[in-house]
């Protein structure tokens, strides 16, 4: 279970303090798939950062009894001067998992071949994304965080990612942030809408979408 209790996040900007999240509550049980909708700048990514633990709430609590992934296919933690494999090794050490198994999976899945032995700064954007996605799948989590579904690689690779995440791991929980209702409809059973710092939760995606539509005006 992931539980946000009265979570508030205030950022200090040049224009003074700015409350992005204002007393947000959210519960995500094991295997539940939740969509989060909201306009640009409504705080969707902030919410993901707080759930992932990258940032801490100004007040309130984030509790986790299941393991939560870093945002899917996030490559920002790569050290560009290290090789792909050295980056993989670092992630393995952080999570305390066996290097050999992860490397085998990453080599096979990412299809990067000998590039894995090159510094990441020599990778194209697509290659980075493939490595990042492969790593996301190589370490097992109970809940995956997705901040906008990004298209990784060509359509064949994209299909491979879809199978790996949505089919092979369909028993896992999912928190999917998107402003596209079709993506959320396709993968989530319930949804919440972020509006003016408050999170409104709905049991059905359609109700959430209807609320989202009215909140736009």
């Amino acid at each position: 279970m992931i539980r946000l209790e009265n979570v508030t996040k205030i950022y200090h900007t040049r224009q003074g303090s700015h409350t992005v999240l204002d007393g947000v509550d959210l519960q995500v049980g094991k295997g539940v798939k939740v969509g989060i909708m909201g306009r640009n700048g409504s705080g969707k990514s902030t919410l993901i950062r707080l759930i992932s633990g990258a940032e801490l709430p100004t007040s309130g609590r984030v509790r986790r009894t299941i393991s939560v992934s870093w945002p899917l296919a996030f490559g920002g933690a790569f050290q560009a001067y290290l090789t792909g494999l050295d980056n993989v090794r670092f992630i393995c050490r952080i999570y305390g998992v066996s290097y050999a198994n992860v490397v085998r999976f990453v080599e096979e899945f990412s299809e990067l071949g000998s590039y894995l032995r090159e510094p990441v700064r020599h990778y194209s954007g697509g290659m980075r994304a493939r490595l990042a996605f492969a790593l996301s799948m190589a370490i097992e989590f109970d809940c995956f965080l997705i901040d906008e579904v990004i298209v990784v690689g060509d359509s064949r690779f994209h299909e491979k990612c879809r199978i790996e995440l949505f089919e092979k791991r369909k028993d896992r929980a999912l928190i999917l942030v998107s402003h596209d209702v079709n993506t959320i409809k396709a993968h989530c059973e319930c949804a919440s809408v972020l509006h003016d710092g408050k999170l409104h939760s709905f049991e059905h995606v359609d109700d959430a979408y209807a609320f989202y539509q009215t909140s736009l005006h």
Binding site: H12, R49, S52, A54, E55, L56, G76, A77, I94
Partner: protein
């Protein structure tokens, strides 16, 4: 519950994370080519060697009859210890923000791993140089190794505490970074590396003894030179200064961790 993880388990995770960060830092900074991680202590060693050579040829900072090589090695190694630790923690967070998405990596770990690496580098460099010079007869064996060890341990603690304070302050404002560099420049000649406190006029002695690292350097040299020097240090003062700085540093780092904003 992750936020109710036992202390032992948290400690285990923290060790694992710091270990991973250390390896990442070593490979990133030194690579696997040529000397590789040996640069960790070869670099400070070269620094000390050049300074020793300079001091020996110019006779700088040497009005007394102490052997100049030993004086330079003990002094400059101490400077490297606190200065490198603090310098490495300046602006340590921004290039590593992405790592915070891996929840077990905390801001404190970024600082600790860098501090450990610098302490290791400075310590190995000091030991290797001292051993080398002693073997070639350029330095006498120390009078009291245990006394030296105490001095070095205190200097290491001071370096870590200073690095936490300076590093965390640069997370608040870039002004701290700009101020730190001139401050460290001024601190170098005042830090005890260039003089024995006993050589100074007594009113100036009181002033430099406000600086905690002066006590550490006096302890270190007291251990090395033994009865050949008259030392001025107060272990109690050094202990309290290090403790207070550590607590301030940890509080600042914790607060910086709360405020950190990931892209």
């Amino acid at each position: 519950m992750y936020d109710e993880t036992s202390f032992a388990r948290s400690l285990q995770i923290q060790f694992r994370v710091i270990g991973a960060l250390l390896m990442r830092e070593i490979i990133t900074r030194y690579g696997r080519d040529n000397l590789g991680f040996l640069w960790l202590f070869v670099e400070p060693m070269l620094f000390t060697l050049f300074v020793t050579a300079l001091w020996t040829t110019t006779g700088l900072a040497h009005g007394r009859d102490l052997p100049i090589v030993a004086f330079a090695v003990t002094g400059y190694s101490s400077v490297l210890l606190w200065r490198n630790c603090a310098n490495r923690c300046v602006m340590a967070i921004p290039p590593n923000l992405g790592l915070l998405y891996h929840r077990n990596v905390r801001v404190l770990d970024l600082f600790i791993s860098r501090i450990l690496l610098e302490i290791a580098g400075a310590t190995i460099s000091f030991v290797v140089l001292a051993t080398f010079f002693t073997a070639f007869g350029w330095m006498e064996p120390p009078a009291d190794v245990v006394g030296m060890l105490y001095g070095w341990l205190f200097l290491g603690w001071f370096a870590a505490a200073l690095a936490l304070v300076v590093g965390a302050l640069t997370a608040y404002t870039e002004v701290a970074e700009r101020l730190w560099h001139p401050i460290s420049y001024i601190l170098f000649p005042l830090s005890g590396a260039l003089f024995m406190v006993d050589w100074l006029p007594s009113n100036f002695q009181k002033f430099v003894l406000i600086l905690p690292m002066v006590h550490g350097v006096e302890m270190l040299r007291g251990g090395y030179f033994g009865s050949a020097v008259r030392t001025h240090f107060d272990v109690g003062y050094l202990f309290v200064a290090c403790l207070v700085m550590t607590l301030i540093g940890l509080a600042l780092v914790k607060d910086a961790g709360l405020r950190v904003e990931v892209e």
